[in-house]
Amino acid sequence: MSAGLLEARGARAVRVGPVSARLHLRMLGAVLVAAALLVVVVAVDLSRGSAQLGLGDVVGVLTGGGEAGARFVVTELRLPRTATGAAVGALLGLSGALLQAFARNPLASPDILGVDRGAAAGALLVILAATALPAAAGPLQAVGVPVAAGAGALATAGLIYALAWRRGVEGARLVLIGIGIAAALQGLISFMLIGARLEWAAEAVRYLSGSLSGRGYEQVAQAGLALAVLLPVALVLGHRLDALVLGDDSARALGVGLQRSQLAVLLVSVAAAAAAVVASGPIGFVALLVPQVALRLAGSAARGRPPVLLSALLGSALVVAADCVGRTGLFFALSNEVPVGVVTSVIGAPYLMWLLVRRARGRTV
């Protein structure tokens, strides 16, 4: 009860003219903490590498100063990669938050459902074609990969949605069908790799493991643009999601156009997952893990579904941190860098097992 009273005091209605929103202090606090965490992780990531910089140097460069050497290392070598990672992480967090709310199931995320494998299969097809046709490689890489990834993700999501539809979409059914589709796509990807020449396959495998290595400002622009468009849309859709999480009938009884709203949520989530895959290849477990962490951090201020903005910030911080670990070999002590997707899998796989065990015991997560 005392906690309840605190919650009541923890929410403020903010009203300016026709605009009004409820501000939950716990959510505000969580968002600020996540943002601060992101800033710290980015600064640390920028400072680490073969040329060690102090955090002061990094801050100096980012605020427009710094000496020429540090400036080159930060802005030319490290910032594009870090910024891509941050944008990709945010896209993944957003995608997972929308999909989990949509399916009312913590297992529903683009990586588990095979949406990002669909994107990867599409992208892989074009990468193999580009390697085979060096003459057309430039435009194929620049335009073909994002288009094919988007098409692959959309086709996968469309297929899952169509197969799961029985007078409405039920979360558990969606997840099961998605897992099946993901397995089938994995088979398709393996088939493509086996058919490909060795040097092409090597390139493709690097891509498929989800890596930020060698990412430049084009990727930053791509992923950043996707985020700039999708994040505001996702935040606006949040209002409909609040009704959708009560169930199909309740949502319709509250005046929500069910199919249209579900389609919009699904589209934004899939587009975000596809944009992330285009920029970095499929980075697993971020979209699965982060929204649930965000949900727990925000507590009752999350109001029954993973919060979009907090998930995006945490996803961002997680991917940058995981890439920093993989790149600088913090705990692997390997000379080669480890792709970021491998690092997130190391964190995410135990979480997935925990989640499954919890659900198997009949507790809802």
Partner: protein, 330 residues
């Protein structure tokens, strides 16, 4: 009885309903169901008779394949979902709230049809939520998480969500399922007070119109102003509880042989099922407790426990749905 009077704000006219190719309601002839304004209408019928389906159609959750549902004289299908939700609130069967949602947040979602994405916490929203919480008596528990509540409290919270929509029409699909008797009474008392508010004259809100699907016939008899009995997707009887709950109808619709007595407390019909379907003769002891509250006339009946007296009582019941009042005036 079945003709749609113009004053009905909500009515179904000749509707046929089904899922896929399976027609559930109105197979032979479309179903008509005028909802009396300002009354508590209860739809009853055996499992699978289509009563929930009818309610879903009245609330625009299901599109009829023939006929139409009229809301304020307009075909409900032609109205935007949002506009319908501003006039009519529907509580689906056993809804589930997402984990970690507080009562206040759940009830606040009832404001959805009145909100825009950029305006989700207006003063009007706060007022409506506060009123709805007060009406269901959950003001003190507003900041509790819904999963922590008892079954009855949880159901009241969902009803408050529908109330926060501030609609004159309220459709509730089996709001008492899975509740113990105490909580069933709690919920039905609440619904009754919404339809017949105690302080209309003192600035209180005028009564609402409610349509409720219920399983319990005696609770229906106690609370309903208007009963609609549905069998096999068709309305077989409608009217006051006393008009609908006859022994013939109970046998025909529910396949239950029962006595219909007068409820000694509320005065309506009281349904007492006979012990077993094949039992033709009523065991002498079984009928006694139900009538024990009455006086001498009944005791003489009980003493003469031969079959003829019982059949006489039966006939009395047939002719007059208030056998006990008739007995008392004798």
């Amino acid at each position: 009885m079945e003709s749609t009077r113009p004053e009905n704000r909500l009515s179904a006219r000749g509707i046929r309903l089904g899922y896929g190719d399976r027609v559930v309601v109105g197979r032979d002839q479309g179903l008509d169901l005028p909802v009396p304004d300002g009354a508590l209408t209860v739809v009853v019928g055996p499992n699978g008779c289509g009563k929930s389906t009818v309610l879903r159609a009245l609330g625009r959750l299901l599109r009829p394949s023939a006929g139409q549902v009229l809301l304020d004289g307009r075909a409900i299908e032609s109205m935007p979902t949002r506009v319908v939700a501003q006039h009519l609130a529907l509580l689906p069967q056993s809804p589930t709230a997402p984990e970690g949602l507080t009562v206040r947040d759940l009830v606040g979602r009832g404001r959805h049809p009145h909100q825009r994405w950029f305006s989700t916490a207006s003063a009007a929203d706060d007022d409506a939520v506060g009123r709805a919480l007060a009406q269901v008596g959950l003001t003190d528990l507003a900041d509790r998480v819904v999963d922590e509540l008892s079954g009855g409290q949880r159901q009241r919270a969902w009803i408050a969500l529908a109330l926060a929509q501030e609609t004159d029409l309220l459709l509730l699909d089996e709001p008492t399922t899975f509740l113990d008797l105490c909580h069933q009474l709690e919920v039905l008392d609440l619904v009754h007070s919404l339809v017949h508010p105690p302080q209309v004259g003192q600035g209180g809100r005028a009564g609402r119109t409610a349509v409720v699907v219920l399983h319990d016939l005696n609770l229906t008899a106690r609370y309903a102003d208007h009963v609609v009995a549905v069998q096999d997707g068709a309305v077989v009887a409608s009217g006051t509880p006393a008009e609908v709950f006859t022994e013939e109808l109970l046998e025909q619709v529910f396949s239950v042989r029962a006595r219909v007595l007068e409820d000694p407390v509320a005065g309506g019909p009281l349904i007492v099922p006979l012990p077993a379907r094949h039992a033709v003769v009523l065991p002498s002891g079984a009928a006694a407790p139900a009538r024990a509250t009455d006086q001498t006339t009944d005791q003489t009946t009980d003493q003469n426990t031969d079959q003829t007296t019982d059949q006489n009582t039966d006939q009395n019941t047939d002719r007059n749905t208030h056998p006990l009042t008739a007995g008392a005036t004798r």
